[in-house]
Every structure is written in C-alpha cells, then in structure tokens.
C-alpha cells in the first residue's frame, strides 16, 4: 500500500486544531494470568490465540492484518511504530512475547501482551470519536466471538489495571493548541477538564524542552459509564476547547509579531540545511498555526505527514543509508525543504 493511504497522511474533521482521534480497548483472557504475572509459555499462548483469531478467521478481519513480532523487530522500526502512534513507547522496547497486529492502512493496531493481553486501538485523522469507536466496537465483537474476553457482570471488562475496569476504553483526542498555550490558558483548561472527568496533558516533543503545543485530551472514568456517554462527554468538551483555541488564534494572529514569527519559522524550515528534532518541532508548530489560519498556504495534510516523516525512528528506518544523529539532521532538513519548499506554498495576502 502506498504511503498516501495511511491514516496519518490525511487531515480530518476540525483538522485545523485536531491532529487525530484514538480509541483504545483493553481486553484480557480469564484463564491466563495478566501480563505482569505471566510465564513466557503463557505469553506465547496468548499470542497464538490472538494471531489465530485475527489472521486465520474467516471473518472480515482476516487477510488485511500484518503480524509483527515485537521481540525481534529492529529497534528503529519499533520506534517508528511509536512515532506513528501505533504502539506505546514502552511497547517499542520489544519485551519478550510481545506482538503487534497492524491493519494495512495502519488505522487499527492490536498490541498483544502490552499492559493487557490485548489492546485494540483505532486511529482516525481529525476529530472522529464515533467513527473510531464504531470500528473498535466491531473488531471487539468479532474478536470476542472467538476469544471470549474476561468479563465480570458488575465490573465489566476485567483489566490488569483497575483504572481501566468497566468499558476498558480510553478515548483520546490529540489537539494542537499553540494559541491557548501562548495565552497561558493551559493550566486553567487542565483544571476545568479535570472537574469534568477528563484529563489533558502536554508532552513537548522528543527533547526535554522542544515545544510542539500538542496536547492529549482523554476520558478518565471507565466504570459506571457507557462508551457512548464517555465519548459524548469527551466530544462536547473537545468542541469547546477547539472553539476556544480558534478564538485565541484569531486574537493572536492579528498581531504582526505573531505573523512575523510564523513567516520566520516558515523561512527557516524551507531554507535550513540542518534541523534537529527539537528545532523542527518548535518551528513546525508555528507553521501549522500559520497554515490553519490561512496566513500560510500549505495543505494541512502536508504538515500531518511531516510530523511523522521527520521523526528520528521513521526517518532512519526508511533511509537507505546509515544515519547517525548529524546525518539525520541533514536528511531532516532536506525532507522538510522538499515538503514545504519554494514551489510548494503560494503566498496569500492578508
């Protein structure tokens, strides 16, 4: 499948603010201890059951999934999987007995022997919680017919960690919030969503102070609430955050100093000969803000793709040559210039 068909190369609903939506379901077997107390033989048993259910079934699942043995997966490829949000960073360590089943367009991944026996994860570009949940729900139902997941009449789906009991569902929306961040609204926002049973957290890229202004908004409570109610709660609060960010952007982008910063960032990204991840993460955040507000004429999907393609694991695993850190910075600059470069965006007046 060509790269352009992968979910992260597209921009989705409310793509000016929302990078992606993720639904993750935690599922386990009742007759095998949880991952923390499993023997290697039991891990193999889980892997076999899941692999058999997904790959050998005559269900709609069969045929479209790839199987990846994480234990023997080259490290840079595993890191790249994490950069594409298909697995957790911990999972990229390739612990014994871990495996991944990956749908061809990479929108569905099933982690085996991660924190739970199975973690079914569905990704969508932009804000699409219902779409992502529908897919996750269908896959879960198909798998359950064969695998009979651990379920307790009062506690719901049983998970290793009690924070996931009940629906076992974690729904998340990844948001680009440069304007709210710049206006210093993030702490207040975190307080507000916490009162509503959600959590928002920022991670600032790879380096310790690289700033990407990317935040993840997720549901917290999984027991005593239906999937639909949890999703509706998350969706309505996400919409409010999106509206706030758009207002803040309007205010911010009217300031010529902010416009100047966006253009300068664009200037550096289209001319630099070497770019560290940290520098790239900060600059692309400004450029994304410019593209989303019409200051720069760059399609959002070009930026979505760059946000993955320029990450170290993905770059190194795709490169034909051996890349050390210095060479990777050269290669990153070339990649970014090609994507955003001179004949790419047409200037718009404002």
């Amino acid at each position: 499948m060509t790269d352009s068909k992968k979910w992260y190369t597209q921009s989705g609903p409310d793509g000016d603010v929302v990078l992606s939506t993720r639904i993750r379901l935690a599922r386990n077997f009742s007759d095998i201890p949880f991952v923390g107390r499993m023997t290697d033989a039991q891990k193999a048993q889980v892997e076999e059951r899941v692999r058999d259910a997904v790959l050998n079934g005559n269900s709609t699942l069969a045929g479209s999934f790839h199987y990846i043995d994480m234990e023997h997966c080259p490290h840079v490829q595993a890191v790249s999987l994490a950069e594409r949000h298909l697995i957790s960073p911990e999972f990229s360590q390739g612990a014994a007995g871990t495996a991944l089943l990956l749908l061809e367009d990479e929108s569905v991944s099933i982690m085996v022997n991660e924190e739970d026996h199975l973690r079914v994860q569905v990704m969508r570009p932009g804000l699409d919680l219902n779409g992502a949940y529908d897919t996750a729900d269908k896959i879960d139902t198909l798998l359950d017919e064969k695998l009979n997941f651990a379920f307790h009449d009062r506690l719901g789906y049983l998970t290793q960690c009690p924070t996931n009991l009940g629906t076992g569902m974690r729904a998340s929306v990844m948001l680009h919030l440069p304007a709210l961040q710049e206006l210093g609204s993030m702490n207040q926002l975190a307080n507000t969503v916490a009162k509503l049973g959600l959590t928002i957290r920022g991670t600032y890229g790879e380096g310790s102070d690289a700033k990407g202004a990317v935040y993840q908004l997720s549901n917290q409570v999984t027991l005593g609430i239906s999937e639909q109610a949890a999703i509706e709660n998350l969706r309505s609060i996400a919409q409010q955050v999106i509206a706030q960010e758009r207002n803040a952007r309007k205010q911010l982008c009217a300031d010529v100093r902010v416009q100047d910063r966006i253009w300068r960032s664009y200037g550096i990204l289209t001319t630099a000969r070497t770019l560290t991840v940290k520098e790239f993460t900060g600059l692309i955040s400004n450029v994304r803000l410019g593209a989303a507000t019409g200051i720069l004429d760059i399609p959002m999907d070009v930026i979505s793709r760059l946000l993955i393609d320029a990450m170290p694991g993905t770059m190194i695993s795709r490169s034909e040559q051996d890349l050390d850190a210095a060479k990777a910075d050269l290669e990153r600059a070339r990649l970014v210039r090609d994507a955003l470069g001179p004949n790419r965006p047409q200037e718009t007046q404002f």
Binding site: D31, S88, E114, E115, F151, L155, G156, C161, P162, Q220
Partner: protein, 170 residues
Amino acid sequence: MLCEKCHKNEATTHIKRVINGQASEVYLCADCAAKAGFGSIHSPFSLGLNDLLGSVFGEAAHPKAIPAGGDEVRCSGCGSTLQDIAATGRAGCAKCYDTFYDQLLPSLQRLHGKTRHAGKLPASAGVEAKQRRQLDELRKALSLAVEKQEFENAAALRDEIKALEQGLNQ
C-alpha cells in the same frame, strides 16, 4: 522547575487528574514521564499511575486490612494476595477481582466514583447483567412515557419493570 520524581532534570510534562473529586498534579521530566507511562502523546495510561498517586489500593494495603501470617487469602487463579495487588496496583488475573471483590470495592469507588459497569455487554455476559441492563432501559422508557403522558404505555412498562425486579431479587 525540577522534576518531582528524580529532582534532577527539568520538568516538561505536567500530569493532572482528578480521582473521585480529588485533584492531583505532578510535574515530571521526560525520562520519568516515560517511565511512568506518559512518554509520548499517544501512549496509553499504563501503570505508573500508582507511583504518581500513591497506591490506588492504599486503603486495602493498610496493615490493618490484611490478616497477618498464614491465613492470608490467595487468588486461586494466579496465587496473588491482596498485598501483592496493593503493592503493584495491578490485579494478577481476572479471578483476583472475584477473590478480593469486597476489599477492592472501596478503591474502585474512589477511582471511578461508581462500581457497576454500564457499558457494552458481550455475548458471554450473565443473565443478571443483561436483565439489569434491560431494567435500566425500561426505566428510561417509563420516565419518557410519563413525560409524554402515555399512561397506558407507562402502566405496561411499570408491570414489566416490576416483574423483572422480582426476578432479580430472588
């Protein structure tokens, strides 16, 4: 600001959450955040949670709650004791939740605010769970019928609810 865990590196990740109305927050460096399962944007909330919040099962782990010595109860599925679960913040297997149901319930209440599943029911769900769900739906339909003043319909629903409730109480 320095990382609150290692007190060495600059804190870059701010983790904030509310558990049953109790807000807590922590500032971590990238390393400690990754170790705690908050490594990158889409990492799942794996269980560094416990280190961050103090034990989820703090109450259950309290010495008084655990009978001393040989009469310690072990899960028949995995051999875990309540103390094992409290120490790691993780259950050992699915059966642990049955074995230690009563002891874990207060922690679950604190964690989620509720203790009864309200989401998807798999085909394997027990009759009782299915009937409870049906009861919830009938009650919703009843209040809707009353609201719309569809009294005949409401009376029928009320009978149906009564019958189900009796079945469940037996």
